[in-house]
């Protein structure tokens, strides 16, 4: 929808937020630069949108980068059908509110072969419903660049990944053969079939993400904030117990308590933490004294050391 400047100014009146501090401003500038560079150099970019807090920041930065124009690429959500219900509601609301093109893909094998996080090992389930699904969706769309919200501080193999992360036609990442990346000059030249994953949030840390959400007033899925919720304890994790597909095992019982999530994935594989942080300020205060990393709640990272690298090599984001 074409907008003139005048209309834009009426729609988005100058907000009275204080300016970003120099630290966040530098990170924001870098991310916007990456967004614009990829959008200019690639024919068909797409943005991976997982509905989580990092994706929310990524989307906000994309809107800033292309203002007063529209975000010039679609958002892709790989829906395993096992996401939290609130995530799906939030996703659809945001897409409508910001006039975004949203592409949702689910691997048909999930339904055909009845692959679920309860019946299959988490590694296999993730491989089919996330990694394979992502490859299917990228191939179907013919995308030559895909933005992701990964950060280098998340996990050891990510620390070595480039901002433009090159992929072979079958989506493989070769960590030993990455293109050198100097200054902020990115090499976007690829052959037919090859693609690039671009990570504008590479240099952000978890604290930066939260402080930016606070400074920019970015809406989030409410699951990030503590509330009294039903849960069961299973395999050392607190799993949200509100989806009827969750069947209790012998000895398990639904409990209620003040819990929240530090990361959001598939609900059966994502552990909650006990917390009373029910708003942004409290979440940040809690985070700044945290002694465990955010991925601690993710079952898929704990399978084995190097499990993230293995998944990435196979095409996982």
């Amino acid at each position: 929808m074409p907008l003139s400047v005048q209309e834009t100014e009426v729609k988005n009146p100058p907000v009275s937020r204080p300016p970003l501090d120099p630290h966040l401003k530098a990170l924001e500038n870098e991310a916007i630069h990456i967004f614009r560079e990829v959008a200019a150099e690639f024919e068909k970019p797409v943005m991976l949108y997982s509905v989580g807090k990092d994706s929310s920041v990524l989307l906000h930065l994309a809107r800033k980068a292309f203002h007063p124009g529209r975000v010039p690429f679609p958002l892709l959500h790989v829906d395993t059908t096992w996401k939290f219900k609130e995530m799906i509601e939030f996703r659809d609301e945001i897409a409508q509110k910001y006039d975004l093109d949203l592409v949702v893909h689910t691997n048909p094998r999930g339904k055909a072969e009845n692959i679920t996080p309860f019946t299959h090992a988490s590694a296999f389930y993730t491989d089919i419903m996330k990694t394979e699904a992502l490859r299917q969706a990228l191939d179907a769309g013919g995308y030559d660049a895909a933005f992701g919200g990964a950060r280098r501080d998340e996990e050891a193999s990510r620390a070595k990944e480039r901002i433009y992360s090159f992929r072979t036609p079958d989506h493989r990442w070769d960590p030993r053969n990455q293109r050198p990346e100097l200054w902020n000059i990115y090499n976007g030249m690829i052959r037919q079939g090859e693609s690039v994953r671009a990570f504008p949030l590479s240099n952000w840390t978890e604290v930066d993400i939260w402080r930016y959400i606070q400074a920019e007033d970015i809406p989030l899925v409410p699951l990030y904030y503590a509330a009294e919720r039903p849960y069961v304890e299973r395999d050392g994790m607190m799993i949200l117990a509100e989806d009827p597909r969750l069947e209790l095992k012998p000895g398990e019982e639904v409990q209620r308590g003040m819990i929240r999530f530090r990361t959001l994935g598939c609900f059966p594989l994502t552990g909650a933490i006990r917390s009373t942080a029910s708003n942004l300020d409290e979440v940040i205060a809690e985070l700044e004294i945290a002694t465990v990393s955010e991925r601690q709640g993710r079952a898929i990272d704990r399978d084995q050391s190097g499990s993230m690298e293995k998944k990435k090599r196979e095409g996982y984001f």
């Binding site: 937020r17 500038n29 203002h67 465990v292 690298e309």
Partner: protein, 502 residues
């Protein structure tokens, strides 16, 4: 106060967050400091970075547990093996080597830090150049028992070449020389001379033991009461981030945004100087002149933008501007031309071949270039030796760049953004070199000029020069002229240098 790996609670159902009695980290009034660590495993580099991450609490308990499980033990101080924390890839853990540039993040109450961590042995030139390209400061490690090695000189030379102007010398394993002050004084004096010879004047030397955590994050007054200087973290907190705000305005145009017929904006990141509505600008390479009408950002229409800002610029008239063009201030323009001199680092096994046509990318501009090597830096001695054949991987060379169309650069020592470029091999599409422009080839002193024709160098008062430059005659032949602003003293020096050449 550190939590040892064994006493850390195992992740369990009750993943309650345990508060440390530490002050909160609030808003930061500085940009993150980017730095690079140079040294080898033998110097204790992994231990130093691990110590920095550990003592600033960048390592979380579950990571420490994984670490303890993987290492199957810990060292005699009850700490996990830091190298395992840093070596993220399976191949590295299996082979016990570090293979690429990794980025680490830690923060204090005052500042955040981004560390480019590069291996000390294998292909260190290539990896160091990559890590150093974005760094404002280099930490060079030396083992207190051995002092400076040839390797230290190599690392310092590469860091200085890539534009780093702040060095910290970490004299590590100082406990092993019984905290002998004379040893520290000797090594730091040697280093000072080395750094000064490379043009680096901001130098801090710190005696430390990374293994014991002395003078890294915490002071070691008991062991070294004579040392009054900063700890490593204090030195990093005080370091400066280079800014290119002082020079002329530079906006490499990344893309043109046209949401409607009435709006046309030029999007890019300001790579030098500053801009405000009303400023006169030139679009390069076309030379078209316009004025700035508006600086648009998502939040509000701004009244100024400075180097580093990602902006959308609106001009006061319809002009032809495309991606790859550069919008610059009218009174402090970059160099434009088809022939430049540069230094570059060869990054791939194929090397840089004389006469081969490469793609060159600088800012948002990508164009064809052919490269002729002139000389190669011998890192052991710091001298340039004539070299006209292929520059092998890891070689640092001086080259001539010949473009088919107009190119736009600032000298790298004046602007690390508009003076930098990468070369892309048209056959493999891989990045094969990182380069830094030193000068335009028609500049004073180059041999070609004398073949091409006579030149006259004038030293004029700035106001008179401006009047001459404003004339139509001058504007029409702008490409052929070189303009440098300088003080009267600098001009006098330049003329005396020129006289001595004759």
């Amino acid at each position: 106060m550190t939590v040892s790996a064994q006493s850390a609670p195992t992740p369990a159902a009750s993943a309650t967050i345990l508060p440390f009695a530490e002050p909160l980290k609030g808003s930061r009034d500085t940009k993150p400091l980017r730095l690079i660590t140079c040294g080898s495993v033998d110097d204790g580099k992994s231990t130093l970075i691990g110590r920095l991450l550990w003592d600033t609490k960048a390592v979380k308990e579950d990571q420490a547990v994984t670490l303890a499980r993987d290492s199957g033990g810990q060292n005699d101080l009850g700490l996990p093996d830091f190298a395992l924390l840093l070596d993220g890839l399976q191949a590295e853990r299996e082979q016990g080597i570090t293979i690429d540039v990794a980025y680490r993040y830690f923060a204090t109450d005052r500042r955040a830090f981004i560390v480019a961590d590069t291996p000390g042995h294998e292909q260190y030139t290539r990896n160091m150049a990559t890590g150093a390209s974005t760094a404002d400061l280099a930490i060079l490690l030396a083992d207190a028992r051995t002092g400076l090695l040839e390797q230290t000189r190599r690392h310092a030379t590469i860091a200085a070449l890539m534009g780093i102007r702040q060095f910290v010398l970490a004299v590590n394993k100082f406990d092993l020389v019984h905290y002998d002050r004379a040893i520290f004084d000797g090594i730091s004096q040697d280093f000072r001379e080395l750094a000064m010879s490379l043009g680096v004047r901001q130098i801090t030397a710190i005696p430390m033991s990374a293994l014991k955590g002395e003078n890294v994050v915490y002071r070691a007054d008991a062991a070294m009461p004579w040392y009054q200087g900063p700890t490593l973290v204090e030195a990093l907190e005080l370091a400066t981030v280079r800014s290119t705000q002082a020079g002329g305005f530079r906006l490499p145009v990344q893309r043109v945004v046209r949401p409607g017929e009435s709006f046309r904006g030029y999007q890019g990141t300001v790579s030098g100087g500053s801009v405000k509505p009303g400023d006169s600008v030139v679009i390069l390479p076309s030379g078209t002149v316009a004025n700035v009408k508006q600086i648009v950002t998502f939040d509000l229409v701004r009244n100024a933008a400075v180097a580093g800002d990602a902006i959308t610029l609106v001009l006061d008239r319809q002009v032809d501007v495309a991606r790859g063009d550069m919008i610059v201030s009218i009174d402090a323009q970059p160099m434009t031309g088809k022939d430049f001199e540069a230094q570059l680092v060869s990054l791939q096994p194929s090397g840089i071949e004389p006469g081969k046509r490469y793609w060159l990318k600088s800012g948002s501009r990508r164009q064809r270039v052919s490269v002729e090597p002139i000389s190669q830096l011998e890192l052991a001695t710091g001298t340039w030796l004539p070299h006209a054949s292929t520059l092998q991987m890891n070689a640092i060379g001086k080259v001539r760049l010949s473009f088919e169309e107009q190119a736009i650069f600032d000298p790298y020592d004046q602007n690390r953004s508009t003076g930098a470029f990468i070369l892309i091999d048209p056959d493999t599409l891989n990045t094969v070199a990182g380069g830094m422009v030193t000068a335009k080839r028609s500049d004073l002193g180059s041999i070609e000029v004398r073949h091409e024709g006579q030149r006259v160098i004038l030293s004029l008062p700035a106001d008179l020069a401006e009047q001459i430059m404003a004339s139509e005659l001058f504007a029409n032949r702008r490409d052929e002229a070189e303009i440098r602003h300088m003080t009267a003293a600098q001009a006098a020096e330049l003329f005396s240098d020129a006289a001595s050449d004759i």
